[in-house]
Symmetry: C2
Subunit: 337 residues, 2 copies
DNA sequence: GTGAAAGCGCTAACAA
DNA sequence: TTGTTAGCGCTTTCAC
């Protein structure tokens, strides 16, 4: 079977507790003993049993990440980021894909909570109340990633600024009538982005044509939205996210409308695909890996210093930036066409 | 704190052991008691502590999946599949993204092994010897997914047949000179697929132009390969996987070569993107979710019936099928162009 | 059918 | 600095 702490103890001629101390970071052991124990542990290939340790310390050494869809590269990137940071901290991570199903999401939280030290939750769709009621199920810390909700530690990106940058860019290119294809109404991120767009519209910088809301799947019903955009007389379109943007471009191509010559397209997220597509997508870059790392760090900070009663956990807002690529062009190029 | 088995015991007026039995599937308890215990457990919101249970039973209730890159939708799909099946079995899954780094992969196996009941390993790059030496680190069962290696339980797809179907399809369309852009030489899947292509070439059905090997990233150096294909006089190209195929198409577009009119392209894997791209990709569909489920099931079977000494664990080969979409066309259309 | 007791592998008091 | 003891929450003998 497995090598236990007692095997190491016997092999190095000390007691199990000494082994425990020798292997722990701040254990009070003589350097000689520590070395001897280390050597024995290495030789035997000793791996502490996390479960047994956790029973005592109350720490599992595990983190949970919950995302709506791993196939969306945005979330795949987030999982990679969480994982990479966790690995650096000696933590292993459970990944739960909830298939955009709120029931599964609640289940996942309930199942994961007892088995982890904390959870990084990407939950665009759960309502604020549902989120708030999570405290009834568990007292494990939950950090919201790319969503802001009172009472939770949060890491978000400043999408209002991001949308503003995107529209300002289009304005600078001469576009005055711009369509916005929104994301699902139930999504927090979609509402946030829409708010950013509306703020710009209210400022009168450009005219915004709102074009419904669309699910961010590759197989989502973007076709109709693309046709509406085409009919609207807009010379440019801003999409809820890159996936929607690709869907639009695909439909534009079918309809014989060239991007960017006849239609400028801006996405949001900057998923890995965006730089490689033809044309490469101009998009609002959201810090995915960085956000993931920040969420893990925030989780660890909360773990290290339990919040005082009623104290609001920290909320961190990251910066976005516009990446100008090949899917946007000056309006006059279109007129020449 | 947490609700323990003793809280439930007290609440239902029985001993902890009775609670344990009442909640276990095959526990010998009177129906009345079981009901009473169940009710109390529900009322208190009792969740058995997996760690404590595992300490005794030797089962963690956890599974590990190790993949080279979560951003590759092929592997994202696999993780989703493993997850979905595991959820149905009451298991939670650790996901480890090894960033295509063999060192990280070995680390991941070593780290994960003690914390899980078994591992689903997608490891294209580890050598057969390295794989074989895994037994020194752990006796936890490891099932190889999309790779075959003696001594391991394996779930693979029949890519030799898949490649044959693809080339036969192109042949039927009138193509006689076909380029093959291979994957990384260190990859088992790449070698397997190449073998399939070579088998067809040897049969004399079509002429195959081998065009080096290319990394399956979206940002990989496909450009050069595309140019070689163009220069080779081939009228069609078969790519190692869909991602490479997209890279090729992207370059063809830049070079002004129309797909499928002037160049037919076939991918492999059938990632989610493939059906949505413009043009939608003709590709060899590999059963991703199905393979993932089969791997989990195989793992569970091995767990349930430990293999006899020296006995070869089961190996399962799944079928592929060609999905004909819009990236392939008959050769004469090209001549008309 | 049920309870008492032992112990999984480990860490944290407490002594020495 | 080190060893001894107790016990984390649970399951599993073993009695009854």
């Amino acid at each position: 079977m497995q090598v236990t702490i007692r095997d190491v103890a016997k092999a190095s001629g000390v007691s199990p507790s000494t082994v425990s101390r020798a292997l722990a970071p701040g254990g009070a052991v003589s350097p000689v003993t520590r070395e001897r124990v280390r050597a024995a542990a290495d030789r035997l290939g000793y791996q502490p049993n996390q479960a047994a340790r956790g029973l005592i310390t109350g720490r599992t050494g595990h983190l949970g990440v919950i995302v709506p869809d791993l196939l969306n590269p945005f979330f795949a990137d987030i999982c990679k980021g969480v994982q990479a940071r966790a690995r650096g901290l000696g933590l292993t991570v459970f990944v739960s894909d909830t298939e955009r199903d709120e029931g599964l999401e609640l289940d996942a939280i309930r199942t994961l909570a007892p088995q982890v030290d904390g959870i990084v939750l990407c939950s665009p769709h759960l309502s604020g109340e549902e989120l708030g009621s999570l405290g009834d199920f568990t007292d494990k810390p939950i950090v919201l990633l790319h969503r802001k909700e009172p009472g939770f530690g949060c890491v978000t990106a400043d999408l209002v600024e991001g949308m503003t940058d995107a529209l300002t860019h289009l304005h600078a290119l001469g576009h005055r009538r711009i369509a916005y294809v929104g994301g699902p109404r139930s999504s927090w991120a979609a509402r946030e982005r829409a708010a950013g767009v509306e703020a710009v519209a209210a400022s009168g910088l450009v005219e915004i044509v709102q074009v419904g809301s669309v699910a961010p799947h590759f197989d989502g019903g973007v076709t109709g939205a693309a046709d509406v955009v085409l009919a609207s007389g807009a010379s440019a379109v801003l999409a809820f996210d890159d996936i929607v943007a690709f869907g639009l471009i695909s439909r534009f191509t079918v309809r014989g409308v060239r991007v960017p010559e006849e239609m400028s397209v801006v996405g949001c997220d900057d998923i890995a695909l965006s730089g490689m597509a033809a044309p490469p997508l101009t998009t609002v870059s959201v810090p995915k890996a960085h956000g993931a790392r920040a969420a893990v760090d925030l989780l660890c900070r909360i773990l290290a210093t339990p919040a005082a009663e009623g104290e609001q956990p920290p909320q961190r807002v990251l910066l976005t930036h516009l990446v100008v690529r090949g899917s946007t062009a000056a309006l006059d190029r279109r007129q020449r066409a």
